[in-house]
């Protein structure tokens, strides 16, 4: 991994390498270099499989982190590329032309995080949610409890117990 | 033409007996199949309860005129088939309306209900109904072929198309049954029988869960009740033909009940053992295994 990193480092301005395991590492890439890096990895380094594309909402830092997880099947190693996006009006270029499957991930991210992927196929159609009217629900500034209370009528008398405490009470009433 | 009006109450009596027997028989077979799977199975009267329940439903919908006619065709097919074939050999009382036609009438009347049902299902506008019909009709083309050949063989053997005369020719001992005098034809017919009973491995027509029970997808309440009644009559009526052609017929009701039960059991027996065929698989199966037997039977007679 280190070796690969040092090779890539000469070609692209990369961030620090975080090695999770022997065969799994993450690296941060500037947004504008992602595409060329992906192509390089796919065509030259044998990372032919886009395992997933997901996002993390770093609300405090006001950024979205996109993670592109690529696998080299032959060498059985996985490299994650992180891209940091500004959270306001987050837009990322689509990579559906590199991996068609990416279109589906991008639709999901569009719906759940509100990250725009211009030109990605069917990206503005509903994906999982139907008739969603609030801000995208996976954003951390979306308050799901508040939403639930506003939208759904709760049955009165509902109590929530801590399972451990509850079972202790049940099994050893009044005990230590 | 002289018509003996007493034939009508007699025929209705046959119908009554067969309906009840059919309900119980269906439940019994289901129970037997359940026991094979180590289940207890439904109560023996369950089919009656279901029938009453379906009549007892308060609401119903209709998709149009043919939607009504579907179940009517279906049940008319079953009742007609039963009444066109003499049930008990040698009994005037239970010879039904067999004066109207011979074996050929019965064989072609089988399709009356099928065709009508297909039309009614089509009127519902449901694609699954159409898919089910498509499968059913495809399958029936080859599954009926061995039976047709076997019937031809039997008719050649006895030189008659009259059911009564065919039964008469088989009297006088078990060895006179077609089963022993023309075993190849019987084998072909019994394979064909499997295909016509809507049981595995040939039940892709109904295929619950995949195309929710196919043609009757939209049917409910009293429509369904009519079809349930037909489910009781039709197999028995069909088995009566098999019994008369191949197994010596029945000269009294106990024999009738026993033979019908045993023949029905044959399809259940195969059904619980085998998984389901796709349509083209069953077509091939019939062409490869059953049809050659049929051809052999007409060549050997």
């Amino acid at each position: 991994m280190r070796e690969l990193y040092s090779q890539l480092k000469q070609l692209f301005p990369l961030g620090e390498l975080t090695e999770q395991r022997q065969d799994l590492a993450f690296v941060t890439v500037p947004q504008e270099h992602l595409r060329s890096l992906l192509l390089h990895l796919r065509d030259r380094e044998g990372f032919t499989h886009l395992v997933l594309l997901t996002a993390v909402d770093w609300l405090e830092d006001n950024i979205f982190q996109l993670t592109y997880l690529l696998t080299n099947r032959e060498q059985q190693r996985t490299l994650g590329l992180r891209v940091m996006l500004p959270r306001d009006a987050a837009t990322m270029q689509s990579i559906h032309d590199i991996w068609p499957t990416a279109a589906t991930y991008q639709r999901e991210l569009r719906e759940m995080f509100g990250i725009a992927f211009p030109d990605s196929p069917r990206v503005d159609e509903e994906f999982i949610l139907e008739g969603w009217i609030d801000i995208p629900p996976y954003r951390r500034d979306f308050d799901t409890l508040k939403y639930a209370e506003e939208n759904y009528s709760q049955r009165p008398g509902r109590v929530t117990h801590d399972p451990a405490e509850h079972m202790k009470q049940k099994l050893y009433p009044g005990g230590t | 033409m002289e018509f003996d009006w007493m034939k009508i109450p007699y025929a209705l009596l046959t119908l009554f007996i067969v309906v009840n027997y059919g309900f119980l028989l269906n439940a019994l077979i289901q129970k037997i199949a359940a026991r094979v799977g180590r289940r207890y199975g439904i109560p023996i009267w369950q089919n009656y309860v279901d029938l009453i329940k379906n009549y007892g439903l308060r609401s119903s919908i209709t998709h149009g005129a043919m939607f009504y006619l579907g179940p009517v065709f279906r049940l008319s097919g079953g009742v007609g088939l039963l009444l066109f074939v003499p049930a008990i050999y040698g009994s005037y009382m239970f010879s039904n309306l067999s004066f109207a036609g011979d074996l050929i009438l019965a064989l072609y009347f089988i399709f009356f209900g099928t065709l009508g049902m297909a039309l009614g299902a089509g009127e519902s506008g449901h694609p699954y109904a159409a898919i089910g019909v498509s499968r059913g009709l495809s399958q029936v083309t080859t599954s009926e072929l061995p039976l047709a050949l076997a019937v031809f063989s039997v008719a050649l053997q006895y030189q008659t198309l009259s059911v009564t005369e065919i039964v008469a020719a088989q009297q006088g001992g078990i060895l006179n049954w077609t089963l022993f005098t023309n075993p190849v034809a019987v084998a072909a017919a019994m394979l064909s029988f499997l295909g016509s009973m809507m049981r595995p491995p040939f039940d892709v027509v109904l295929a619950p869960q995949e195309i929710p029970i196919g043609p009757p997808t939209e049917y409910h309440s009293s429509y369904l009740a009519l079809m349930q009644t037909n489910r009781a009559i039709f197999p028995v009526a069909k088995i009566v033909i098999y019994m008369n052609l191949f197994f010596g017929g029945a000269s009294d009701w106990p024999t009738f009940f026993l033979k019908v039960f045993l023949i029905y059991l044959w399809s259940a027996f195969v059904g619980v053992v085998f998984p389901r065929f796709r349509v083209e698989q069953s077509i091939r199966w019939f062409l490869i295994w059953a049809v050659p037997l049929g051809i052999l039977s007409i060549l050997m007679v």
């Binding site: 799901t144 049955r155 | 279901d50 997808t217």
Partner: protein, 213 residues
């Protein structure tokens, strides 16, 4: 509104143009009506007995309870012996089992299926999710009280209830029906506006006729 449900102008084969409004032309608009029982009480009693002894369940699986229903068909529990059967089509089913949490998206389908069943019809809610949201009490996309949306006849508590509990539930359901208390369909018809208002409050993209016949 989905594109296929919007009004469209169509040109017939004879060249005449006319308007097609799918929701009106393709769907029956009639509201449900209250269906009284048989006029003679003894007949209604007979029917109620038959309904109780012949419960046909719509195989509609939601949440984790869908898994709990399968064992009922197996030799160990064998619900068939109680007259309980599964039917693949709502038209022929009498009992709708909501077997767990119900997202708003699934609720739409559940309502449709329920409305396509023929009365009298019954709804059973399975597990705490249908009762008060259960562990999904704060989820943004599951409903918390099933009886706001469908006329529930019976809840079976648990998370999830075991097949034995389901069998017991069936017995209770039978008692209700035999007692003539299984009138959920009529309740639904009577309070149709209330149910619809509740349903439409959580289903924001309502794109079907009010009653799916």
């Amino acid at each position: 509104m989905k594109e296929e449900l919007q009004k469209r102008v169509i040109k017939g084969p004879d060249g005449v143009e006319f308007e097609v409004e799918p929701l009106r032309d393709y769907y029956c608009e009639a509201p449900p009506t209250v269906m009284p029982g048989a006029y003679i009480q003894i007949v209604e009693d007979l029917f109620n007995w038959a309904r109780a002894e012949s419960i046909w369940i719509l195989g509609f699986g939601t949440g984790c309870g869908a898994i709990e229903m399968r064992p009922l068909m197996t030799p160990r529990f064998d619900a068939y012996r109680y007259g309980v059967q599964w039917r693949p089509t709502p038209r022929q089913a009498n009992l709708l089992m909501i077997s767990g949490y119900l997202s708003t998206k699934t609720l739409k389908r559940a309502i449709r299926s329920y409305e396509q069943m023929q009365s009298p019809k019954y709804v059973v809610g399975l597990g705490s999710c249908t009762i008060n949201g259960g562990m999904y009490w704060d989820s943004y996309n599951t409903i918390k009280r099933l009886d706001d949306y469908l006329p529930v006849d019976l809840y079976i508590a648990g998370c999830m209830p075991r097949p034995e509990a389901l069998l017991a539930g069936f017995q209770d359901m039978k008692k209700l029906i035999r007692a003539g208390k299984g009138e959920g369909a009529n309740r639904y018809a009577e309070n149709f506006d209330w149910y619809k208002a509740n349903q439409k409050r959580v289903i924001h993209d309502w794109d079907m006729p009010d009653y799916s016949w």
